[in-house]
Amino acid sequence: MTERREVFVQGNIACAEGALYAGCSFFAGYPITPSTEVAEHLSEELPKRGGTFIQMEDEIASLGAVIGAALTGAKAMTATSGPGFSLMQELIGYACIAEVPCVIVDIMRGGPSTGLPTSPAQSDLLQAKWGTHGDHPSIALVPNSVEEMFSETVRAFNLAEYFRTPVIILGDEIIGHMREKLSIPAPGEIEIVNRKLPDSDGVCRLPYRADGKYPACLPNFGQSRFHVTGLNHDESGFPTSDPSIVQESNARIIEKIYHQREMIDKVEVRYCDDVEMLLVAVGSAARAAEEVVEEYRRKGVKAGLFRPVTLWPFPKKQFREYAERAGRVVVPEMNMGQLRTVVERFIPSSKIVPVNLVNGEPIDPEFIIFTIEKCR
């Protein structure tokens, strides 16, 4: 196929197609609503391409298999939702410290616990950053359309491969199950990043040697014999508790993200040049927020939208630029204030209008406007 392909599909299918476009050859997952269509689609498509699909016994096993496959050189992914994402947290940390590229798709649903399995929520915005124990790098992308479920999944693989770290896609039930037109780019239209490998000849004795600002450059298993561990390790990959080495390597896996964050940052900014009331939202809440902005603009209120497509690392520089201009910052989200706790670090709380919905219904423009007017 050398031409664009137009399809009308769910966000979850777009995500699976994005993975295939990026070169994903391995998927391991466990059924959970509302993410299951990602697994179903890949169970059909991967065998056609000689790739591997396996349904594991739980979400922990799924991410374990993904990391194992990634170490052999495969581009690997799993998909889940809130409760399964919670189960995966320990191994997300493993992939961070062992610097194993992989993609984790979390189609968010209501919680806590089993919560509302078939209803939308934005319950894992903070779990995506703080869920696993220990300090670690975090990259999380939040698509808000079927097109973006495709393109952000491609970007997730590219970032994972380049930075050698797990990348999280935060979809939600609305984006995952909503159907929209998707124009699948022809091969080559979007750049595909492959992980950097050491020279294939000779033994790689220091697989974790890296400039203090860059990712390590591990060989694939079979290319050179080396050791991978979740313990703190030195450049050789073997465990160490030498304080200076631990300090340096713990800092490096975080700094490698921030050092080139311009490669990761992505925001959508609309009507913000003269903004007086800034709406900050991600994912499906941003779709409602955009309508609110347009409604206020029609009434002559200078409203604008700031949408982090990359939520983590949070685009604080860009956010400050617009938030400082605005008298009010409205934060509509389908949780009790997860994005608000981030925003509060950069602007006074008195400027913030929180809009929180956790009843399992989609957040709609009327509710956002109603809440804004009530807070006047």
């Binding site: 056609k48 922990i60 096993a61 298999a65 990391i67 979740g230």
Partner: protein
């Protein structure tokens, strides 16, 4: 004289294991068995979880993967499926394989994926200081069973067999030549193979059982005196076998192997006849 140094990362020695621990005995047995297969070191992936036994991969010169507690089989499944030409071996302690990792164990048995699991079964959580595990003998004292252990133990071999593993053997750290044979046969077996190795941990377990063992040597002698070879066990009554354990190749079966099944599926799908 067998040259172990070819297979060891000699600069990583000495190992962390205590005097009297059986893990070093099993490590040497594993190395001899691998040497006998003639496999290229580049084609071997040795995977472990967390615990004393799980430090083993650090000492051997293969592709080595030290994962999270209980998850070695899950990682190994990904490695094997993504690159079927690898020989994948998992080493795990009894807590790692049977408690926190029990779910992965039973499903690997069921799938019959071509991986070899060696359980370093010393009946205790050694690294954390001697808490009871799924294979701690009934009545024993442990750091978390100061009044004696009240839970029955898992029979690793019966569990693996019941879940569908197609090669199951049990050896001990006392009967070393037999252990070499069991591990070698497990390695060359096509399908999921399990070798349960009865061992002892004097440091955290043995010395709490003063009435049973005077020293670590007595723990080894216990293995000698209570192991019953499979053939002999067939002639003994349940009463006679009480308190003993059966060693040998306990189960072998022919069943489709998972990776081959998957490759067949891919070939069929690609050939247009799913």
């Amino acid at each position: 004289m067998f040259d172990y140094s070819v297979y060891l990362r000699n600069e990583k020695l000495p190992h962390i294991w205590c005097a009297g621990c059986g893990h070093g005995i099993v490590l040497k047995s594993l190395i001899r068995a691998i040497a006998k297969t003639g496999w290229d070191k580049n084609d071997i992936v040795l995977v472990s979880g967390i615990g004393c036994a799980s430090r083993l991969p650090g000492y051997v010169d293969f592709n080595t993967l030290h994962t999270a507690h209980g998850r070695a089989i899950a990682f190994a499944t990904g490695v094997k499926l993504a690159k079927p030409s690898f020989h994948v071996i998992v080493v795990a302690g009894d807590g790692d394989a049977l408690a926190i990792g029990g779910n992965h164990l039973i499903h690997a048995c069921r799938r019959n994926i071509d991986i070899t699991l060696i359980v370093f079964n010393n009946g205790i959580y050694g690294m954390t200081g001697g808490q009871y595990s799924p294979t701690t003998p009934l009545g024993d004292k442990a750091a978390t069973a100061p009044y004696g252990h009240i839970e029955p133990l898992f029979d690793v071999a019966e569990l693996a067999k019941g879940c569908g593993a197609t090669f199951v053997a049990r050896g001990t750290s006392y009967h070393v030549p037999q252990l070499d044979e069991y591990i070698y046969k497990a390695l060359i077996h096509k399908g999921f193979s399990v070798v349960d190795v009865i061992e002892a941990c004097w440091t955290t377990h043995g010395r709490k059982q003063k009435e049973k063992y005077k020293d670590n040597l007595e723990m080894l002698k216990w293995q000698r005196d209570n192991a019953v070879p499979f053939a002999k066990a067939q002639t003994m009554s349940a009463e006679e076998l009480k308190g003993k354990f059966i060693t040998g190749i306990l189960h072998q079966a022919e069943r489709p192997e998972y990776v081959e099944q998957y490759q067949r599926l891919v070939a069929d799908v690609k050939g247009g006849n799913p």
